[in-house]
């Protein structure tokens, strides 16, 4: 194994014609419609993941249904009577369903904030604002965040112009 021994070659073969066709295959792959990872675009708005919205909607639906099912006896609704207009004298307190939705939103935001620590936020904001050539560190941070599915970069000529922070 040391330098004075004959080197043992690698047993791996390259399929016939593979190297000759490599550039063409690469060109075809680069010309193909990009997947989400290479996509260029973005917006600075924060969106909520549809899963969280679906969960929140389901929670609201269940709670509202449960509230009707388990109505206290003295609150029974009499269908035969024409309901009189009700004047609210005091504002309605938030229902548990609304509170849950708000809590979900706060949790989601908190999670995102905790992932992007101050250094990352400052680095990305600086690069976005200045539109100068980004440093390798900024590129690395942005790429890592993109690989983690947290952001999508608008990349042109190796520079990122805008970044969307994904839910």
């Amino acid at each position: 194994m040391e330098d004075n021994h004959d080197k043992i070659p690698s047993p791996f073969e390259t399929p016939a014609g593979y190297m000759d066709g490599f550039e063409a295959k690469l060109a075809a792959r680069m010309a193909a419609p990009v997947n989400r990872k290479g996509e260029l675009k973005v917006v600075h708005k924060r969106r909520f993941r549809t899963e969280y919205v679906a969960v929140a909607a389901a929670v609201v639906a269940i709670l509202v249904t449960a509230w009707f099912v388990f109505l206290p006896k003295n609150s029974k609704i009499e269908i035969a009577k024409t309901p009189k207009p009700v004047k609210l004298e005091t504002p309605l307190a938030p229902t548990p369903a609304i509170q849950d939705t708000v809590q979900l939103q706060k949790t989601e935001t908190a999670v995102l904030e905790s992932v992007l620590d101050e250094a990352d936020k400052k680095t990305i904001a600086t690069a976005v604002n200045s539109k100068r050539a980004q440093t390798p560190q900024e590129i690395t941070i942005a790429q890592e965040l993109e690989e983690d599915g947290l952001i999508v970069m608008d990349v042109e000529d190796g520079l990122f112009d805008e970044i969307e922070i994904l839910p």
């Binding site: 040391e2 080197k7 070659p9 791996f12 399929p15 520079l159």
Partner: protein, 191 residues
């Protein structure tokens, strides 16, 4: 922009450093990239193939490597040699692919799977000692395996390997020393 002195030089005649500098010229970018692929495709493929064993996986990793090169060459500062920079990207792509395929598998299980691939995978020939060597290599921890590949098969210097892995030369020498001894023990045990 590329320095004036190299603007009239034909692209195949440019050094690696001049190639990287010329990439900044939008009019020559495609040609420069083509030259980079042509120069490095074989080494990149062989490097990732040794890590991944399987040809299709290596093909994916090699293609991804050059896509990343295209995307990021404009930000390459020349702190290291172009080859080292590309090699580092290739290494990361291969390791990412390896982890993606076997995310929760321990080293022993992964080594057994890869050893089976050496025995039965397509596009693998070689005599018994070549296969024994590869099967011994796959039992090494990731870092030692990488260092061994780059030193033994690619014949890179410790300085080059240091640029690629970000590891000190002393640590690399120790890694290679341990890798060689482990491989020798395994091969002797199995003879």
């Amino acid at each position: 922009m590329a320095p004036e002195s190299i603007k009239n030089i034909a692209i195949p005649n440019l050094t690696d450093a001049e190639l990287a500098a010329t990439f900044a010229d939008p009019g020559r970018r495609q040609a420069v990239f083509g030259e980079i692929v042509s120069r490095f495709k074989e080494r990149v493929y062989n490097h990732v193939r040794r890590i991944l064993i399987d040809h299709d996986d290596a093909d994916d990793a090699a293609q991804n490597t050059f896509i990343r090169v295209w995307e990021n060459l404009a930000t390459f500062r020349g702190d290291s040699a172009l080859f080292s920079w590309i090699y580092r990207i290739a290494t990361n792509e291969a390791l990412a692919q390896l982890r993606k395929k076997r995310p929760n598998v321990d080293l022993e299980t992964a080594s057994k799977e890869m050893a089976n691939m050496v025995d039965s995978g397509p596009y693998i020939s070689g005599d018994e000692i070549q296969r024994k060597l590869q099967k011994a290599i796959v039992t090494l921890p990731e870092k030692q395996r990488l260092v061994f590949h780059m030193k033994y098969f690619d014949e890179l210097s410790y300085e080059q390997i240091g640029e690629i892995t970000g590891t000190s030369i002393g640590a690399l020498k120790a890694s290679y020393f341990h890798a060689v001894h482990k491989i020798e023990e395994i091969i002797k045990r199995n003879i």
